[in-house]
Symmetry: none
Subunit: 400 residues, 2 copies
């Protein structure tokens, strides 16, 4: 039996409640001797850590820097090396494009074609507003191909998402992107017999888009890559008999939550709104995924101070979480985003689990270094879900 | 996707450099309260540990005592439970026998046959010099069988290596060794259809050797076991886009390094020569495996003091490693060899990783006990390679 089926078979439905607070990109690296977490004043997190069992997690395994997809899947109990999410689906989720079971999506670029060669794969990084106009124009003029509806959705600068909705589409397609400049327009090729029809439709779309865009000097063609169908993951209801809700305000995380069957509670951009929404919906669900984005954004910007402030700001809401008296409260991150590196990294994530059935260890401060001394030790994020379920009394005995 | 292919697909070539210093058999057990490492004066290693991230490794998994083969393969990032090295190939590597793609090797014993029974499987543990003479005699008188060249290479005491060079040889052969005394001469049997011809050739060799040796009272026959072909492992170039070099002075470790595609830089027996060779060749490679043998030999001899001295001696060279300013420096062992046990053991290995992107933990002394408090926790050696690659900036992000 594998881990997933063991956990799944042992799960029972109970009224107990779990809150998983993900401070995105929380883990950091020292600048002048202290990480963002170490530099931040976090009295509530520290008090919570003192009463919790702590550890450090590796989202995939040691050394691997995860994207948001695998990092979150692991926290939700899905093996990130088994459930692989294509770049197209991640871009679509990130852009807030709703993707259904029969949809095929890909990442697109507006690009510049000159004398038969792609001379700029990013069309001079046009303004997002120009991109929006181009997408609107394409959506209103594109003709359906073999009766299949095709839509484009603007992203930032030159990037967009294309979505084809029809049965029997395949994502076994090569990128329609020369990858380098000064190469001819690229078309997709099928990687399997079944994908032949889809490849024809995609290539007909490329030709139609070229025709419609031919009078736009900079943005007269499109490149497509990362074709993905909607990944079919078992839901958290199916796996864990949970009735889960996501409280998140960024499209990517709402999309990821939908992928695993969470109900998404839409909230605005303010931190307080996350906690307001949680309180308002607390009676309706038994698993809550709360997503704080600011810590990661500040890390990506290389802004140590902003990340520190985002941590301190989040710390203030910990008492509100505790006053809900959840059976299990976990605070952790999906992956590290040290301001020093301005990017996701492979460094482990601080992790705390607070529950009546968790024995507090010697950790008295919520930080990377201190959590390394916790009773949970260093473990793969995939084990967070069985731990949460166990402490919530949702896991039966394995074997007799 | 499995771990190996994930790491392999994410690796990018960069000019950054990694040094892996393996102090063979370093891990120990306390004698009068202190392990060899704890008893040794190691100011440089301690200072390095204070600036590093530390942990303890299990070469295979908890409880498993590894041979040098699996222990090193794990450190090089090869799953030791997937890539199994036969005893024949390890004996050949250890004896400095060059083994090619078409070679079949086995371990041999000179043995004593009397009245049709093997009365001494080790021929009274003859002197190595006598063994050398016997091998010379056999090599000059053995006739080729079916046109196949057969050579024997002396080892210590009664042990030798036999090598057959030809196409389509198979190692699916049972041992030609009764394992116990007072049994008749054993011959090999094929374990597959394809091995039938090889078995005939091997058995013909045994009969020829018996005939040639019949007038030597103690060493009048041979036993063969552990038939192995050259294992085909992916190289470190293929797996990790590395250009790796081994600086080692024992045949076994040079052989292991060659197996995974390392360039072997030959050095003499003095410790200083390892570091001289490293410095001399530092610009030509991006991964350096340095092998210190003395710690293991002293452990195997049960000589606590000698192992302690070997550690102290190695410690003096740490500043020379650091002055090369490698992007990643790892100091660890392949397996433990406590002087108390006079043999390899299953105890975990102290491990430190020094890099600009590694957050120093609370460890201030390089020892088994202290490293158990490190941020890396306790982990399988197989993760050392992705960790080194990550800290050297050689691993891209996994997923989006």
């Amino acid at each position: 039996m594998n881990r997933e089926s063991i956990v799944s078979e042992l799960t029972v439905e109970t009224p107990s409640k779990i809150i998983l607070l993900v401070m995105d990109g929380l883990g950091g690296l020292p600048v002048q001797g202290k990480t963002e977490l170490e530099a931040a004043r976090t009295p509530h997190l520290d008090k919570l850590a003192s009463a919790s069992v702590c550890g450090l997690t590796d989202p995939v395994f040691m050394g691997i820097t995860p994207g948001s997809g695998p990092a979150h899947l692991a926290l939700f109990g899905y093996d990130p090396t088994k459930y692989l999410l294509g770049r197209g689906i991640m871009e679509a989720l990130g852009s807030g494009v709703e993707v259904g079971k029969n949809d095929l999506v890909a990442r697109g670029n507006f690009a510049t074609l000159k004398d038969g060669l792609i001379v700029d794969r990013r069309a001079g990084r046009i303004q997002t507003s120009e991109n929006e106009k181009l997408c609107q124009y394409l959506n209103s003029t594109l003709k359906s191909i073999e009766g299949i509806k095709i839509s484009v959705y603007p992203g930032k600068e030159h990037r967009f998402v294309v979505k084809l909705s029809a049965e029997r589409l395949s994502d076994a397609l090569t990128d329609a992107d020369p990858q380098k400049e000064n190469k001819p327009q690229a078309y997709t090729s099928p990687l399997s017999q079944e994908a032949a029809r889809t490849a024809q439709i995609v290539n007909a779309f490329i030709d139609q888009a070229k025709e419609l865009l031919k009078d736009y000097p900079k943005t007269n063609t499109v490149l497509l890559r990362g074709f993905s169908k909607f990944p079919s993951l078992p839901t958290m209801q199916e796996l864990y008999k949970l009735n889960p809700a996501a409280v998140a305000n960024y499209p990517m995380y709402k999309g990821l939550a939908r992928l695993v069957g969470m109900e998404v509670i839409d909230v605005g951009q303010e931190l307080a709104e996350l906690f307001d929404a949680l309180e308002k919906n607390y009676s309706a669900y038994d698993f809550f995924y709360l997503h704080v984005k600011k810590t990661d954004s500040a890390g990506e910007d290389g802004n140590f101070e902003a990340k520190k402030r985002a941590i301190e700001e989040t710390d203030k809401y910990i008492p509100r979480l505790l006053s809900l008296q959840p059976d299990v409260l976990v605070v952790t991150s999906d992956h590290s985003t040290p301001a020093l590196l301005k990017s996701h990294s492979w460094h482990p994530n601080p992790f705390l689990l607070f529950s009546k059935t968790a024995q507090a260890d010697k950790v008295t401060r919520f930080s990377e270094r201190e959590c390394s001394q916790g009773s949970l030790g260093r473990f793969q994020s995939i084990y967070a879900m069985p731990l949460m379920l166990a402490h919530a009394g949702k896991l039966k005995k394995f074997g007799a």
